[in-house]
């Protein structure tokens, strides 16, 4: 179990796919931790030199879709610009997300590729709130 100031995540063992289970006291923290879990699936986040900054603004009709869209944004930037992020700051107002992420261009000479994520899916997707805060599960196609 990895720990993050805003929450914690663990990988879900799945025969053909990969997944993360995220817990955080706040919804913002859950979005930040999910992003961190996503990056940690791909490479060792502590090997990243987070010098490049990117801003995000997203809006969706429900919180589950917003979580998937957020992770899809990160995957899109990895696929097109090679960017992988290690630090995140998320602000949520209802179903609008505004975020900043810091990271760098993935370099196979320096960074270990743990898993290539092909897609973020809605399969067994869950976002729930309990008295501890927020919990989410996301499955990736790999």
């Amino acid at each position: 179990m990895a720990t993050h100031p805003q929450g914690s995540f663990q990988f879900i063992d799945h025969t053909a796919d990969a997944g993360i289970l995220v817990k955080a006291p706040t919804l913002e923290g859950m979005f930040e931790t999910a992003a961190l879990g996503f990056s940690e699936l791909i490479t060792r986040v502590d090997s990243l030199n987070c010098l490049i900054q990117r801003q995000f603004k997203l809006q969706e009709d429900d919180i589950e879709t917003l979580l998937v869209s957020w992770l899809q944004e990160l995957l899109y930037l990895l696929d097109t610009e090679g960017l992988i992020f290690g630090r995140f700051q998320v602000n949520l107002k209802a179903l609008t997300l505004e975020a900043t992420a810091w990271g760098e261009v993935f370099n196979p000479e320096i960074h270990t590729l743990k898993t290539e994520i092909k897609a973020v899916t809605y399969h067994q997707l869950e976002v729930v709130e309990d008295d501890q805060g927020w919990e989410a599960q996301v499955i990736f196609d790999i």
Binding site: D13, T15, I42, T65, L78, P108, K114, Y122, I142
Partner: protein, 379 residues
Amino acid sequence: MRSGLERKEVIGHIRKLVETLFRNIPSGVGSKRKDLRLSKAELKKVLVKGVGWAVKQGFGLEEDPEYIEERGCIQGADPDLISDRALERGKAQLGTLGSGNHFVEVGYVDEVYDEHAAKALGLFLDQVTIIVHTGSRGLGHQVCDDYIKILMKSTQKYGIELPDRQLCCAPIASEEGRQYLAAMAGAANYAFANRQIIFHWVRESFERVFQMSSERLGLRLIYDVCHNIAKIETHRVDGKERKLCVHRKGATRAFPPHHPDTPLAYKDVGQPVLIPGDMGRYSYVLVGTEQAMAETFGSTCHGAGRVMSRKQAMRVSKGRAIIRELEDQGITVRSAGKATVREEIPEAYKDVSQVVDVVSGAGISKKVARLRPMGVIKG
């Protein structure tokens, strides 16, 4: 692909060959060839024309499309139904292998089950073969992501109840259904072109190592077949010809002898089917049958399938030198990601021989030859 080479002619060059393939065919995150850059307009042509585009650009031979499902181009693709985001992901990844279970494998025919069919496919004992496994890359996944969003709304609109949101859908004849099929055809055509470009680089790699033209090396396409795709086809149902949408998920097409879509050269034996196994065991060449047409809408399985999760595979392989273990079995492996080789260890997969015996026992495809790997590149 087949070659005119025998195992003994390649065995001494296998390391150099694997290294050359690894250099020529980009694999792993963010890898690309500097000499293949596409504008958006050009990429749209790829989506419409598939392999035809690639051959016109000089990737491969005029005869290649004859040996590809749908001649490497599914009709009706509409690039305007594919988002800018998908195009952006696709632009950088055409001609790349990707990671995970995608691979290029050099092997040899170690057993022939059906002499007649093997001869028709140009296969013989000890012959060196090449298998390429990759698909539509990030472009295909983006098309999927984009249409899942649309189809989740359709699911509500048409009152379809589902156990999982990822299963969202729409009637085939609806506006959304038609649009999705036209976008999917574009992604499939991209995948055909992607593999065609890689076939070309396989030929170039062999030419470089053996200092001989690919014609003289006899590098010809046996067959390129899709999996995980929906196709509009005609099948007999309850004695009547019907037009159907056949979705082959985890399955591949296996058309019988004399089917109009089976290549002329194989008309007496049936459409070739390729079932790759894990990198330590075997892969199989089979052909489609009438029974598949009657029982499974002309379909069979497409691979071995995993038995271990990637995490389990990592645990089992901990502390083991997998590349060295495979080397001891005469299999040279080169991978962009260190973890990939451990996640893809042979025991993480079902034994493909058992899987193939099931489909041939059921009569939905017929064994032609078994291939044993010699060299593998992975993402």
